[in-house]
């Protein structure tokens, strides 16, 4: 191991009332993969932002390559590049421009346009695995490929320190595997690789050291074989893991004892992605159905078509109404009338009103129902908010604070609470736990469990197979834009689902081999 590249001591940072970091010490060396783990709100993203020069600490010292950084350009000049959790691309600009953004001088270009195109095409092909046109607009790419653009942006600068802040969140499994391979290559080149993540299961296989944060302070550094899921969870939550917890992070078992099983949502011949095969789908009351598929195989579009968020290309969708009749769903208004809720994982884009307060974000759809003589009944909504924040264990300041003062996981809780307050019959969640920590995830699963127990039908789309196991009664696997088939009950294992994602629902399929061929 080389010298210390990053040295942080006694760093503190507050945002208004919220103490993001109390007192953090952290150091990372050249040629190691160093993970920063912690729950939501533990301050790990703030720490990454401090190292990248975006956030200036209130106290303490930050040295990267022996120098302090006070702005992103200074950090980049010091050889530290960051890949952020949000997929930050400049829409309306070409892919090559998005890769080389910030590397060019204001007056004279350091790399010619032709060279920019050539290098970004080469780098992205090696990262994504298939060729792309560097002069195309960046918005022509899928979310996962845009994330690769932000990764290429960091790599193109040949940094000495590279920070990955939840960078696998938008990637599918083979993509994440390719990124881990890239990290190992960087390590062998002597780069200091810092990984901020909540995917602790994957972390255990490749991190050299792991610093755990809890409530804005570093609570331990593990190295080598000490990095195990149970040790990490113990440090993150501050409680020793009890027996079963260590076995897995999300093996939560629902008591499915619902005999009635009436159909609450039905689709016939549904085509969500133009050109795909038509699919039939049924959701029964009291069940939790998982949606799985490789990235961009149409599962998200199918979910949106089911909930009226996206127009269908063909086929019909209908939901059970209050009197046992089926109401057609062909628009969002129809879905609202039929009490079908859609919760997006892309909070920033489709979920929150960033200018409004926590309480307003929660109460938005309730304003229509809770009125007294034409005025909004704020007391009733306030009471509902209190209920919601108790049941979902919301960790927030005053309800009048802006929603953006909350961490990602807590923002998601507000959005879920908002939908649940409308007593939906069908709840469809599109990867809601992206970038959410283990504890919040567990609270979320328990909520969904209770919800299904009360007779609602739940659809849960996840990019992490682990999430579906133990939560879902049935898992629908998608491929080529259509519903390929089902994995049911005890057969829901990560091997079976993964095999299905590659188009093989038969039980004797070799997943390992397919993974190798894919990447």
């Amino acid at each position: 191991m080389g010298g210390s590249r990053v040295a942080i001591s006694q760093v503190a940072k507050s945002f208004g009332e919220t103490k993001a970091l109390r007192e953090v010490n952290f150091s990372a060396s050249a040629g190691e993969i160093h993970a920063i783990v912690g729950e939501n709100g533990s301050g790990k993203s703030t720490l990454a932002k401090i190292m990248s020069g975006i956030v200036i600490p209130d106290a303490g010292t930050v040295a990267v390559n022996g120098r302090t950084v006070t702005s992103p350009s200074e950090a980049l000049g010091n050889g530290i590049a960051t890949v952020f959790q949000e997929v930050l691309v400049a829409e309306g600009a070409s892919i090559a421009d998005n890769v080389f953004i910030g590397t060019q001088g204001l007056w004279r270009s350091k790399v010619s346009r032709r060279e920019q195109n050539r290098r970004s095409a080469e780098l992205l092909e090696s990262l994504i695995g298939h060729p792309i046109d560097p002069t195309a607009m960046v918005e022509s790419l899928s979310l996962a490929d845009r994330q690769w653009v932000t990764i290429a942006r960091a790599l193109i600068r040949s940094p000495q320190v590279i920070i990955f802040d939840e960078s696998t969140a938008a990637l599918d499994l083979p993509g994440a595997a390719r990124l881990y391979a890239e990290m190992e290559r960087l390590r062998s080149d002597g780069v200091c690789v810092i990984v901020v993540t909540h995917r602790i299961a994957e972390l255990t296989t490749f991190a050299d050291r792991a610093t755990v944060l809890r409530d804005g302070a570093d609570v331990g550094v593990l190295s080598g074989d000490e990095i195990t899921e149970s040790r990490l969870i113990e440090l993150m939550t501050g409680v020793a893991a009890k027996g079963g917890l260590a076995a897995g992070t999300q093996h939560h078992r629902r008591l499915s004892t619902h005999p009635q099983e009436k159909i609450v949502l039905r689709a016939e011949g549904l085509v969500a992605v133009p050109g795909a095969e038509p699919s039939d789908f049924e959701l029964r009351s009291g069940e939790i159905v998982g949606f799985a598929g490789l990235d961009g195989q149409g599962q998200a579009e199918f979910l949106q078509a089911l909930t009226g968020v996206r127009p269908t290309a063909a086929g019909t969708v209908a939901a059970l109404g209050p009197e046992g009749e089926f109401l057609p769903i062909n628009s969002l208004a129809g879905a609202v009338d039929a009490k079908v809720s859609y919760i997006s994982g892309d909070r920033r884009k489709e979920g929150i009103f960033p200018n409004l307060s926590i309480a307003e974000n929660f109460g938005m759809p309730l304003y229509r129902k809770h009125r007294r003589g034409g005025l909004i009944d704020r007391t009733a909504i306030g009471a509902k908010f209190k209920d919601m924040s108790n049941t979902l264990k919301l960790r927030a300041g005053a309800p009048s604070n802006p929603i953006t003062s909350l961490s990602g996981g807590n923002q998601q809780k507000v959005l879920i609470g908002r939908e649940l307050a409308q007593q939906p019959r069908v709840v469809a969640l599109n990867d809601p736990a992206r970038g959410v920590d283990v504890r919040t995830k567990r609270e979320l699963y328990a909520q969904l469990d209770t919800l299904a127990g009360s007779g609602a039908g739940v659809i849960y789309l996840s990019t992490e197979i682990d999430e579906l196991i133990g939560l879902c009664d049935r898992v629908a696997v998608f491929r080529d834009g259509a519903l390929l088939g089902w994995v049911v009950g005890q057969q829901i294992t990560s091997d079976r689902i993964l095999a299905g994602m590659f188009g093989h629902l038969e039980s004797d399929f070799d997943v390992e081999k397919a993974m190798v061929e894919q990447s």
Binding site: I54, L88, I101, G102, L106, T135
Partner: protein, 329 residues
């Protein structure tokens, strides 16, 4: 990803300009019937003389819109400010050498735009509020400096107002501006401007000096508005303090018609220049109908209706086109 033919890529890249070009073609067809003399050498020269100032300030507005400052309301009064100060400070004192006049016009344009940019980036006040304040302040000052249309431009500048042939001075001014833009659009600065405009946060975390880029972009805009002030002074060969508001509105119309995104990052002069010429042609076409005293009201009414119609069509046609393509696939 689907491979794309060079033609397909070009039409994709320039689809924002379709409304402006479409309207321009329609107007030219109308003019060929109502006023065929427009298609003579002096007709084209004359058209470019009347379009010149608007084209130049719309180019300036394009830069500020690209960098994410939205519509620059101050452009019209700033152009007039340059016009009235040229008359009062230079021409009234018999100063008329081209070097001084150019330096004065371009310099004032740059200084006032850069001051606005500093207020926007350093004090972080919404651009629309800053440019509105500048609009109001400059409109007032203009009437203090010059209470009524008066003054006399030096002969070389007054020549700009004569559009006797296609290669009249105004045509050359516009060609220089367009060639300058072509070079500017290939500079790394231009890329930075578009990147800052399309996503300021991405640009900031990627190490782009956002404040500097925005200030420089406003400076470039000031340069073009300064040139617009010169062109306007040449066009009327004197000073006129009253036309600022009209020019701002016409320029915004041309900008929107030209498909420039007011949210930043998208668009270019391929849309805004035909937009500006189309706006000029609208009032020209209307003068071929004898409307008498109603003329100015009808012009404004037409601006509004044509703007909405052109935008509606430019939204509807691509949507229908895409539907058809999807149905065929």
């Amino acid at each position: 990803m689907k491979p794309q033919s060079p033609f397909g890529r070009l039409t994709n890249r320039t689809s924002y300009t379709f409304a402006a070009w479409g309207l321009l073609i329609v107007l030219l067809v109308v003019c060929s019937i109502r006023a065929p003399y427009l298609f003579t050498a002096s007709g084209i020269g004359g058209l470019l003389v009347s379009a010149g100032p608007l084209v130049l300030i719309v180019m300036g507005l394009t830069v500020t819109a690209l960098v994410g400052s939205g519509v620059d309301l101050s452009a019209g009064p700033l152009m007039i400010f340059i016009n009235v100060t040229l008359v009062r400070v230079l021409f009234d004192n018999q100063i008329g050498s081209p070097a001084v006049v150019f330096a004065w016009a371009l310099g004032i344009g740059v200084v006032i735009q850069v001051v606005q940019a500093i207020v926007i980036t350093v004090a972080r006040i919404e651009p629309v509020i800053v440019t509105l304040s500048a609009f109001l302040a400059l409109s007032g000052i203009n009437l203090v400096i010059l209470t009524q249309p008066e003054g006399q431009a030096p002969r070389w500048l007054a020549e700009w107002g004569a559009g006797r042939s296609i290669l009249a001075p105004m045509t050359i001014v516009l060609l220089v501006a367009i060639v300058g833009w072509w070079a500017f659009s290939r500079s790394p600065l231009f890329t930075s401007i578009r990147l800052v405009g399309s996503n300021q946060r991405t640009a900031f975390v990627s190490g782009v000096p956002v404040a500097a880029v925005r200030i420089v972009a406003h400076g470039v805009s000031g340069l073009l508005i300064g040139a617009g002030g010169l062109a306007y002074t040449g066009q009327i060969a004197s000073g006129n303090p009253t036309q600022g508001g009209t020019y701002t509105l016409a320029a915004i119309t041309a900008l929107v018609l030209g498909g420039i995104s007011l949210a930043g990052g998208r668009g270019g002069v391929l849309g805004s220049i035909p937009g500006a010429i189309a706006v000029t042609l609208i009032s020209f076409t209307l003068t071929t109908f004898s409307l008498g005293t109603l003329a100015s009201f009808v012009v404004q009414l037409s601006y509004g209706l044509i703007l909405v119609l052109a935008l509606l069509i430019s939204v509807i046609i691509p949507a229908v086109w895409r539907k058809r393509k999807e149905a065929m696939a």
